[in-house]
Symmetry: C2
DNA sequence: AGCCTATATATGTCAAGTCTTATATACGCG
DNA sequence: CGCGTATATAAGACTTGACATATATAGGCT
């Protein structure tokens, strides 16, 4: 359901083809939302049927015609309705935490391996995000400020994850040592 | 696919019925993983078919018989394989960030409303998590340390979210003021 | 010469998860 | 006395999303 609204959101910014939309998703919201290409086209079809979007066909000689989708007044209304609707408690899915929860079986060494792998991934992501962040100019308006904020959110949470991993690594080492000593 | 492994993980801790498993999911990993009751039963069926789990039927006079599921050696092997497998980059879904990305249309006042709603939810969650955390004894072994760590992860990220929201609130107010002054 | 990528849309299939309903009994609350 | 909750399992319908594949051309890389 959010994909539908996200597509409306992008179309409110600028009319786009399905192909364009896929680029927009991959380019600017990838870190907190992904969209499947096939799903985008299906959603566009629904939006047209529902009268929230109109299609302008731009013929191209060599390639498939561009079907540029424009948001309608009804579409904007639905978008605004979504933006202003109450927040629904969304169910988080963190596969890493799930694994960690059961990872005691691996023993301390195995857990350290998991932690380090996770930390490496987080370091990479932090580097990528800060690199993107460094290229951003100071936001001139609210819209840009918000987009920048979503980026900062990712950076802060990634940093928090790294901090937590560092502390956990220490704890696991200590706990393991203690446990070994108890065995003696 | 993770649900399958999580079920194996719980069964490795203690034999359980589908009903028990639902309670375990809701009770201890709810904050980072959810499981649908119907899905749990379907997964249990698959695990039995695959020989990773055996069923012990305990008749009950009044109620439906308890079908206690026990993990097999093959099941433990599969669990360990999962625990030690490389981490797959999981796609994050943050509906709030998606909304914020497009929320410029709402104007500063509307965005502040979104931020405050999110902050209220996060405050509530932080209170709930810290309350649970306060009841936990110091972990005696690795398994308990890891479970406590997943709780700490939630607390830290929730705190980070609150910090970010506070800063964002300030930024939105400032940006809005600047923008208004520019309009004059 | 062959392969990959980019541009552009579309269908088919499958897996996974969500929601609803069904069946049975017992206990506590108002 | 009815309603919700707890105990227990299970099937059905439905939605979403993920992945593969098809079509068509052009340009660049190896």
């Amino acid at each position: 359901m959010s994909l539908r609204n996200a597509v409306l959101g992008f179309l409110a910014l600028t009319p786009s083809t399905g192909y364009d939309l896929k680029s927009h998703f991959d380019g600017s919201v990838r870190q907190f939302w992904t969209a499947d290409q096939a799903q985008i086209y299906r959603v566009l079809g629904q939006l047209v049927q529902d009268g929230l979007v109109t299609v302008e066909v731009i013929p191209q000689p060599d390639r498939p015609d561009r079907k540029v989708h424009h948001i309608t007044a009804a579409g904007l209304a639905e978008l605004d309705g979504w933006l202003a609707s109450p927040l629904d408690a969304h169910t988080v899915r963190e596969p890493f935490l799930l694994r960690l929860f059961f990872a005691g079986r691996l023993g301390a060494a195995g857990v350290i391996g998991l932690i380090d792998a996770r930390a490496a991934a987080a370091e990479g992501q932090l580097a990528a995000l800060t690199a993107v962040r460094a290229q951003q100019p100071n936001p001139a308006d609210l819209e840009r400020a918000l987009r920048l904020a979503t980026l900062d959110n990712g950076i802060r949470h990634t940093q928090t994850e790294l901090d937590w991993l560092r502390d956990l690594r220490g704890t696991v080492t200590t706990t393991n040592t203690t446990s070994k000593e108890q065995e003696r």
